[in-house]
Each structure stands twice: as structure tokens, then as C-alpha cells.
């Protein structure tokens, strides 16, 4: 492998990492506050991608407008799933919420498969040629994807660390009882969180669909990588989720010449198991409080 191949793989890994960071962040927010790994996150991604495809097909809108529309739709689906399912499971064993999340994932995926079919779809995008800098190839589309993902991450971080919504959220994540005692009203806050998480997943799905193709299985396939990224970064740490996603995806890309693309998911799993074995709290994680 020459250094030019290396740089190409590195760039690709960084862009993929920025995309995976979105679902990883969505998962880590729910994990930090609601205390269960939301296994439906992947299928929320799929929902977002298909909502955007539908908006484009129905209205002939440009992709950015379709993406905005899909963020609204998916945010509503996400908040609805919280109201109808996960709010009622709070306080029950964590396995209940996880099983329900898996069930929700199956439900979303199969409804999409039923109505939209199982053929792969692509977004209506203009075809562009990759820029070539002496062998280092950069697709303009990839730059757009990276920029949008990065901008979205910045917005979420501002929301979490600079607004009263974020302060309250972090207070609930630290100690739900203490937060309630100090007058934080959890219900509205939770709805906002799940709206945010839905919008984040939708954008992740659209970007993933731009990078590859849209299919009913696309989100499920990114569930393990997103979870590995979240664990790698330290559960409940938003910055960690993003760093973890970047690290994981770069490692995955660099491993492709050695193992072939099919083993990417296996590598995610190996990284996940190793991190949990060596440092269960992740790179940025604190020691978990006993619930």
C-alpha cells in the first residue's frame, strides 16, 4: 500500500466516521438519560432515509428540502415511540426497553419493506467527477456530507453545552431524582430529547444514503458500528461518541486492504469486545455510577 492509498482510505474513514457519529450520538444521548441502548436507532436511520426518498419522489424537491422534511417526520416518529413505548417502560428492567426497541426496529423496517419494496434506491443527485490531487481523490459529494455532518454535530453540541435545555438534560442524566427535586420537568424535556434524537438519526440516514445506497437493511447494518463507536468513546459522553466514531471508521477503512470490506462489521465487534474488556468505561467515559 502506497502512502496515496493510505491517504485515500484515511479520508474515506474520516467521512464515514462523521456520518456514523450521528447515530452514535443519538444512542449515547438516550443511553445517558433513559439508560438503555436504543437498538431501534439503526431503523430510525432507515426511516429518515426513506422519508427523504418519499419527499423527493412526491414533491420533486431538492435533496436539502427532502432532508429537512425527513428530519421532521423522523423526529415525530421518534417522539411518538417514546410516548407510546419507552416512557411506559421507565423503571422496568433494562431488558424490557431493549426488547421493545428491537421490536420497534423490526416494525419500522418491515413496514418500510412492505410499502417501499426491497430494491435499493438512490437519492436524486447530480453526478460529479472526483477531484484528483496527484492520486488523492476527493468526491465533492463526500465533502458536502462531511460538512453537513460536522455542522450538525456543532449544533447538537451547542444545544447540549450552551443552552438551558442541555443543562437540564445533563442534570437528568447525572441524577434523575436530584433533577426532579430541583424542579426540572422531565416530560417536556424528554419529548425534546427524543425529537432531537429522531432528527439526528434522520440526517444520519440521509447522509448514509448519499454515501452508499438506500435499502431497508441499511440502518440495521450500522447499528453495531454505531454502538461500538459509542462504547469506544465512553457511554454517555457525547464528545466521546464522535471521537469513537472517527477512530472506529478510520480503523475499519485502513483494515480493508488486509481483510476485505465484508469483515468491517466483524472488526466493529472485535473493537467493541476489546474496549469493554480493557477499559469498560471507554476512552472518555467516567466510572459508571451504580443505578
Amino acid at each position: 500500500m502506497t502512502w496515496i492509498d493510505f491517504v485515500n482510505l484515511l479520508i474515506n474513514g474520516l467521512i464515514e466516521g462523521l456520518v456514523v457519529a450521528l447515530p452514535a450520538l443519538a444512542m449515547t444521548l438516550v443511553m445517558g438519560v433513559n439508560r438503555f441502548p436504543n437498538a431501534a436507532t439503526g431503523d430510525m436511520l432507515t426511516t429518515g432515509a426513506y422519508a427523504a426518498v418519499a419527499v423527493q419522489l412526491l414533491g420533486g424537491w431538492p435533496l436539502w428540502a427532502a432532508a429537512l422534511g425527513s428530519m421532521v417526520v423522523t423526529a415525530l416518529v421518534s417522539a411518538g415511540s417514546y410516548t407510546l413505548i419507552f416512557r411506559k417502560l421507565a423503571g422496568r428492567p433494562m431488558v424490557s426497553s431493549m426488547l421493545a426497541a428491537i421490536g420497534l426496529g423490526f416494525l419500522l423496517r418491515s413496514l418500510i419493506g412492505f410499502f417501499a419494496g426491497h430494491d435499493q434506491r438512490t437519492f436524486d443527485l447530480p453526478l460529479v467527477r472526483a477531484w484528483n490531487f496527484g492520486g488523492i481523490r476527493i468526491l465533492p459529494t463526500d465533502l458536502v456530507i462531511a460538512a453537513v455532518a460536522a455542522a450538525c454535530l456543532v449544533v447538537v453540541f451547542v444545544l447540549i453545552y450552551r443552552t438551558s435545555f442541555g443543562r437540564q438534560l445533563r442534570a437528568v442524566a447525572d441524577s434523575a431524582d436530584l433533577a426532579r427535586a430541583s424542579g426540572i420537568r422531565a416530560n417536556g424535556l424528554m419529548l425534546c430529547l427524543w425529537l432531537l434524537v429522531g432528527a439526528l438519526s434522520a440526517l444520519g440516514g440521509v447522509l448514509l444514503g448519499m454515501k452508499a445506497v438506500v435499502s431497508p437493511e441499511m440502518g440495521w447494518e450500522s447499528l453495531i458500528p454505531a454502538f461500538a463507536a459509542m462504547v469506544l468513546g465512553g457511554i454517555g459522553s457525547p464528545v466521546g461518541a464522535v471521537l469513537g466514531a472517527l477512530l472506529l471508521c478510520v480503523a475499519q477503512e485502513l483494515a480493508v486492504p488486509l481483510m476485505g470490506p465484508s469483515y468491517k462489521l466483524v472488526l466493529s465487534f472485535v473493537v467493541l469486545a476489546l474496549v469493554l474488556l480493557v477499559r469498560p468505561a471507554g476512552i472518555m467515559g467516567r466510572v459508571q455510577l451504580v443505578r
Binding site: 431493549m98 423490526f106 419493506g113 453495531i224 472485535v270 469493554l276
Partner: protein, 293 residues
């Protein structure tokens, strides 16, 4: 009709065996295994590959159970350090890793083409009779495992496992080390799944990686949770209920006109998803489960 009932019965008993294994892991010990299908797959492939080499079927079955059990050792050791939510995702990831490895390593497993022409159990007895013999053998195995589980749950060892599930810190405080028991029970459950895999391979006689998707894991979970985890009764009746559900949806096709085969598969998956949600919401103890779970 009898042949059809016999085939359904065999599949139901295979799910029953899987559910009994999961019941040991989750029902008794609260180990959340979302990778049941991995051990099922390894059992099926181990037995299938050995049988194609001419190894007697009895030895193939033993090897399937042993290898699946051994494969659970590293995961079981990992589980000692993990909270149950992490363990859930790790086992889920493990099952996908196993499936992809089976798909990729075609020098061993023939990849996506799968292994056709596996020897059928009791094949020399004629096709109709062999199914009945498989059914009877499975029934005996399930009965023994169910009886063993009941005895186990009532023994001091079983009470220890229950105590691990209920309150592990208290148990450690009493000076018991729960670690090795957890690993043992994880391996035992996995070995049962491997055995179920061998029965599956030598009943269907054709296995591909496509048959070992995570959905199978959640079928087993659905059966166990519907029936009521923690009890043998729950695992057995839950698997039967699951079978009614899966086969019923096949007949529902005649009732819903204008839906294609693929569309029906989607609807069935949707029903599984909905059932998982509804059961956890409204029947957390299952239909036949105790009240204390």
C-alpha cells in the same frame, strides 16, 4: 397433513430446545443473550460439515453441542465484566460476526451457497417414518432437558443461579463467587442451542448463512417472554405459541388477498416487532410466568 404436522412439531421442538437454553441463561441467571442464533448456527454447521466427512451422526451431534458450548466460553468470560445492556449488544454483534464469517469463509462453509445434501437423521427408515422418529427423539430430548432444568432450578446450584439473577451484590457479600457459575450456565445454554442446530441441520438437510439471521434469536426471545421467562412451563408453552403465531401467519396469506410472498414476509416481521413491543408493555411476566419475575 400428518407429514405437515410432524414437520411443524419438529420445528416447534427445536425452538423449544433453544428457549430452554435461553431460559437457563436469562430466565434463571438474568444473562441477556441476544446472540442465540450464533450458537444455533455453529451447532448446525459443525454437525453438517462433520457429517459430510462421513462422521457418524451421533458424534456429529456431540461435537455440535461441545463446540457451541466452548464458543460460549470467551463470551461468558466477557459477560462477567459487563452490565447486561452491554452484554446484550456484544452478543448481538457476536452473532452477526459469526454469520458473516460463515458467509465469507467459503473454503470451509461453501459461503452463501450453503451446504446441501446433509444426511437426514434416521434416513434409512424411509421419509415419512424418519420425520416421526426425529420428532420422537426431539420430544425425548426436550423432555429430559425440561426435567433437568426443573431439577436444576430446585437444587442448591439452581437457587444460587436464581440468586445471581436476583441480587448479585448480596450474593458476593455472602462470600459466594458467582463468576464461574455464570460462565457454566452460559456454556450450558449455548450447548443446548448447538444441539438444536444439529437437529435442524439433519432435519432440513440444507443450511445457508441466510437461515441464521438475528431474527431467529428474537423468535426465541419472543417465545420465552410470551410464555414467561424463568419457568420451564413458560419456555415450553411460549415456543408452542410462537409456532402457532409463525404458522398462523402463513395461513393468513389466504385471508389477505393481493399480498405477495415478499410482502407477507414483511408483514410477518412487522407482527413479530409489534408482538415484542406489546408483550413487554402489557405482559412482562408472560402468559404462564410467575408473578415474582
Amino acid at each position: 397433513m400428518i407429514a405437515y404436522l410432524c414437520a411443524i412439531g419438529i420445528v416447534a421442538l427445536i425452538y423449544c430446545l433453544l428457549a430452554l437454553g435461553l431460559n437457563l441463561q436469562f430466565g434463571l441467571t438474568r444473562l441477556v443473550n441476544f446472540g442465540v442464533v450464533a450458537f444455533f448456527a455453529v451447532g448446525a454447521y459443525t454437525s453438517g460439515l462433520l457429517a459430510l466427512q462421513g462422521v457418524p451422526l451421533v458424534l456429529c451431534f456431540v461435537a455440535a453441542g461441545v463446540l457451541s458450548g466452548l464458543l460460549a466460553l470467551p463470551i461468558g468470560l466477557l459477560s462477567l465484566r459487563l452490565r447486561d445492556d452491554y452484554l446484550a449488544i456484544v452478543t448481538l454483534g457476536f452473532s452477526e460476526a459469526v454469520r458473516i464469517s460463515i458467509q465469507q469463509e467459503s473454503w470451509l462453509t461453501k459461503g452463501v451457497q450453503g451446504l446441501p445434501g446433509l444426511p437426514k437423521l434416521f434416513a434409512s427408515w424411509g421419509s415419512g417414518v424418519s420425520d416421526m422418529a426425529i420428532f420422537a427423539t426431539l420430544l425425548a430430548v426436550v423432555a429430559v432437558v425440561a426435567w433437568g432444568t426443573v431439577r436444576l432450578a430446585a437444587s442448591p446450584f439452581g437457587r444460587l443461579l436464581k440468586a445471581i439473577g436476583d441480587d448479585e451484590p448480596a450474593l458476593s457479600a455472602l462470600g459466594k463467587d458467582p463468576a464461574w457459575f455464570k460462565v457454566q450456565v452460559f456454556m450450558l445454554g449455548a450447548a443446548l442451542a448447538g444441539l438444536a442446530g444439529a437437529f435442524y441441520a439433519h432435519f432440513i438437510t440444507f443450511i445457508t448463512p441466510e437461515q441464521f439471521i438475528p431474527l431467529i434469536t428474537f423468535y426465541v426471545w419472543m417465545g420465552l417472554v410470551m410464555g414467561g421467562s424463568g419457568t420451564v412451563r413458560g419456555a415450553v408453552f411460549g415456543s408452542l405459541l410462537l409456532m402457532v403465531f409463525l404458522e398462523g401467519s402463513r395461513f393468513a396469506k389466504d385471508w389477505v388477498p393481493g399480498v405477495s410472498e415478499v410482502g407477507m414476509a414483511s408483514l410477518r416481521l412487522a407482527a413479530v416487532g409489534l408482538a415484542l413491543i406489546l408483550v413487554t408493555l402489557y405482559k412482562p411476566n408472560g402468559l404462564f410466568g410467575g408473578k415474582t419475575q
